[in-house]
Amino acid sequence: MLKYLTKAILLLSLIWGASSVSVSAEEAQRAKLQGTIDAALDVIYSDCCASLSDEEKQAKVRQTIEASYDLDVIIRRAIGRNWGVLSPREQGEVLELVKQLVLKAYVKGLKGKGRPQVTLGEVTTTSEGRMEIESKIFLDGKTFYVLYRLRKMQSGWQIYDIVAENVSVVSNYREQLDDHFRKGTGAELITRLKELLQQDEINEDTKI
């Protein structure tokens, strides 16, 4: 009897241990994401970085994000099956240019605006090795709902998609890139990305 009781207690402790590990993993990812978002916003809004130029701010934001997440994951996913169309040199160049473009849009987009308040909500494990973190962003009197999708990879938990108001960033850019690759090449994509980087205005209407 005592033997069975010991086994039952051991089993229960294992189950409890496994569930608490999962809960703490979710909480850890939530805290990591909140920390990264706050640190990236600090670059734009805190006094310590006020004297930095836009380019310096972009570099600092990039450093902050890349300390926690691999930006390549989300960009490669947006490129999708067209990744194989690009040569290894083009792959590297596209990754770099898209990163620069995203960071430029981030810094320019928030310039002159009030600091957005980002509140992270529920963390949901959608399947094994995947979770979603809900967030609410209050900016200039408006509320936006953004969902961060994370996946456990060899390099740890990585953001692989961001869904803003039910529109997936990866799906949106994949559609544009698919359209490009139907009639264009990798070299033409690089030229287009360089053109976009030269433009002063990058907003939601900017298309690849």
């Binding site: 999708g80 099956r81 194989g84 408006k142 869904v163 039910n166 799906s171």
Partner: protein
């Protein structure tokens, strides 16, 4: 012609008739003797409003399959079962979106294949985009937004 030959021909006629009825039943019922030529996967949406069994499944505007079933799971997510041909190979990075044909047209599921690992039959797509709720968008943006009042 003796009685034995007549019986033989009648027997053959009956057998041919039975074979024809069996063939018809198989064709109408869509049954397969050597496995199905279709497989099913599921997609989990926060809202599958307007999607019904029989709705189209498209890739790049081309119909590739059909919605077989729409049910609710224990977390109140909509689970949509998609029936696709075996010849269609999808990957785990595929994104499923609920789209509308035109402004007020039928709802359908659009699949956007990625470039990841091949998807096995029975796979559940969790990377989905639910239908855009036009009424909600109008109330939030055109009419000043309901969130600001409640915040």
């Amino acid at each position: 012609m003796n009685n034995r030959s007549i019986e033989f021909f009648v027997g053959c006629f009956v057998l041919v008739g039975l074979a024809a009825v069996l063939y018809l039943a198989i064709q109408v019922g869509g049954a397969r003797f050597f496995g199905s030529d279709r497989y099913t996967i599921t997609a989990r949406f926060s809202s599958a409003s307007g999607v019904n069994p029989g709705s189209r499944v498209e890739i790049a505007g081309v119909r590739v399959g059909t919605v077989k079933e729409v049910v609710l799971n224990e977390r109140f997510d909509a689970i949509v079962t998609l029936e696709l041909p075996n010849s269609l190979e999808l990957d785990e990075d595929t994104i499923a979106s609920v789209k509308t044909a035109g402004l007020i047209g039928d709802r359908y599921i659009n699949l956007s294949p990625g470039g990841g690992m091949p998807m096995e039959p029975g796979y559940e797509i969790v990377d989905t985009e639910s239908a855009l709720d036009i009424e909600s968008l109008i109330s939030r943006f055109a009419l000043g937004g309901i969130d600001e009042k409640s915040e």
